[in-house]
Symmetry: C2
Amino acid sequence: MSERKPQIKLGLSIAGHGYHHSAWLHPSVPPEGINEFGFYLDLTRTAERGLFDMVFLADFVVFSMVDVPKGVLGRSSRGSFEPLTLLAALAPQTECVGLVATASTTFGVPYHVARSFASLDMLSSGRAGWNVVTSFQDEEAANFGSATILEKSSRYDRAEEFVDVVLGLWDSLAPDAYVCDRQSGYLFDPAKVRTLNHVGRHFRVKGPLGTPRSAQGRPVVVQAGASEEGQELAARTADVVYSVQPRLETAQAFYAGLKGRMAKYGRDPDHLKVMPGLLPVLGGTEAEAKRRFREMQELIDPLVGLRYLSAIFGDLSGHPIDGPVPELRKDKQLATRAQLILDLARRNNWSIRQLYESTAIGNTHNTVVGTPEQVADVMEAWILGRGADGFNLLPALSPLSVQEFVDEVVPVLQRRGLYRREYEARTLRENLGLPAPPTAH
Amino acid sequence: MSERKPQIKLGLSIAGHGYHHSAWLHPSVPPEGINEFGFYLDLTRTAERGLFDMVFLADFVVFSMVDVPKGVLGRSSRGSFEPLTLLAALAPQTECVGLVATASTTFGVPYHVARSFASLDMLSSGRAGWNVVTSFQDEEAANFGSATILEKSSRYDRAEEFVDVVLGLWDSLAPDAYVCDRQSGYLFDPAKVRTLNHVGRHFRVKGPLGTPRSAQGRPVVVQAGASEEGQELAARTADVVYSVQPRLETAQAFYAGLKGRMAKYGRDPDHLKVMPGLLPVLGGTEAEAKRRFREMQELIDPLVGLRYLSAIFGDLSGHPIDGPVPELRKDKQLATRAQLILDLARRNNWSIRQLYESTAIGNTHNTVVGTPEQVADVMEAWILGRGADGFNLLPALSPLSVQEFVDEVVPVLQRRGLYRREYEARTLRENLGLPAPPTAH
């Protein structure tokens, strides 16, 4: 075969104990790990050993104190580190893996976001990424002066302008702006500095930002919003889209649709990498994988299971757990993800327990239970079938599921010619196969 | 002598190339260093070798493009890293030295500030500090939606509430809130989490913050404002005050005055450490130190000298450089520091050149030119004379001046019994000799 196969891009989504809602109850998982730097360092180094393009930190700006159903509070949690400081600490201890942090356009300040990510990009010599989110929880809004979150269209209106300001600030300095020339007395060349002078509906930001242009030009922009507004923002501005796609058919439609939106912005469809989530549960045989999956599902704390459903259905603790999922209250505007969960329940005629079991692991992302070869089969089918350019690995249990994937699945992908045997470059943008970003200089 | 001498506390102020305005022109200084992590790592490790309590990063949220006097733009600059990400990167690479970053209450968001510093405190196992500033430049305001900066009283009104919100968020979790107990199924104990529910004039912040209580209870609070409002805020909330005091007599008055303000807040005067800036220029003999000082002064780029005066006096490039300092324009509300510079000029009847030479090194901080013994004499006199609890070292040239201080002055202070021979503890708060912070738990 003369033509090179498409190369799979890989991200590692790090979420505390793992993407199984009761992961911390598993004997292999260190419960205190979420509050320890060493836990995240080990995960990131394992990802780098597995030649991953990037690690990815999701984030919510809230520590929920909602006790629904009653008694659940304290029984599950997320990590405690703020993503940018955690990734900054990881930067000098790693060499090639990308470092992607989430920051909200609804609760953030453009100048601060631009500057902090540019700083992370310098610290990592061109491996930073910004996952743009608009946030969606009232509980988050309550930490920033509002009782309720803005409507989605207002959030995206702000996000569009926010991203433009940040991209503009990142383009402040030409690559050769710093001259550091003692002879002439010039540290930087003022002609190579661009003042933004942004005046918009939401922001007035003068600039410039003083951070030198990074080795990858500017941080990589990642997005996960699957709504109409989210896809449009991604088609215009994103380098990577982190999608939720449990089935190949819908993944293919999403992939084609999203890339089809790019032409009107003058962008090449190859310049946006679509990376859906993937949650593998591995075993030496299919039977062993299934047994391990059942063991994980037996860990589920029913209260925690109901808690994750409560955001969509309200408190279900008064309903029989093996009875049908009740009708939805009508006042609720559903996030795209919530609608997906509801559709699943209706289509399969699930009980409450079946529904929370099906979402407790991977939360509607593509879950594959099988041997390393079987997981590789799925990945290959999605890549060759143009349902994905790569995947974000959701480890069910951290660090175990990450180690297993790197030791067992990565070699299979390499043997099939679908995955790198060494890093192509030192920057995230180059490893992802993305071109240098446009510049006004 | 049976009574132990007071122990000097030391901070290292890191400002790019050094606290001489033309430091980057000195042959010992690497001009590119300000944009390189390794430069800051070396400085911080040298401070740790010298058993410093902390390194300190000043910060302004602007990259100035003001070209006054004309032609000066590009001839001087500050470092490019955002302080929190830089210190986070330094945290795992150091063990005992405190890490203090500046964040503005005028342009920041309380929840983000509280969370980022709490995260730095975890990453460093209890060595983080927050330098609270209210900012003062119109140019900074222009990056955050306003053409001009708020008036000082409004800034401090906001700062008072901002600090209260941050301190409240830092007190969210009791020390034993995380239980991580698989038996009971509780990761944390909800009864040990305090929701802030702050509703004030400037902010509504619900909380809690999910960060575990750090090894030092909460980050150390540093302040530098010398105005009436600044001193009052410090007396109520600060652990450390970084002051500008060129002479012992005024330092003593400031020290007594500030500590005298603490009683009405129910605070022990020993629980706030006053640390004025100190800029030593060392030599093996006094004559050699004076010669080195003159060599540094000869580096001054006159345009850069005039630039630093322009914030107070406007553009002086039309006046004879060896003529008198002209009258001040009347419309200008002066910062405390600017008033100090003006008083100096008037008292000494300086020419424009003499004025910028006197401020080009250390910017009105206490500059001591002499042998290591002479510098130690000054430090001892200030400590025993109750003008200071310690000092923030302003290196004229980085890294040279830091290395010299650690190698030559620190041993003298140790021989005199005025300075530690090893760190007392692993947290910043304990090394500073401060008690555990109060808690509502």
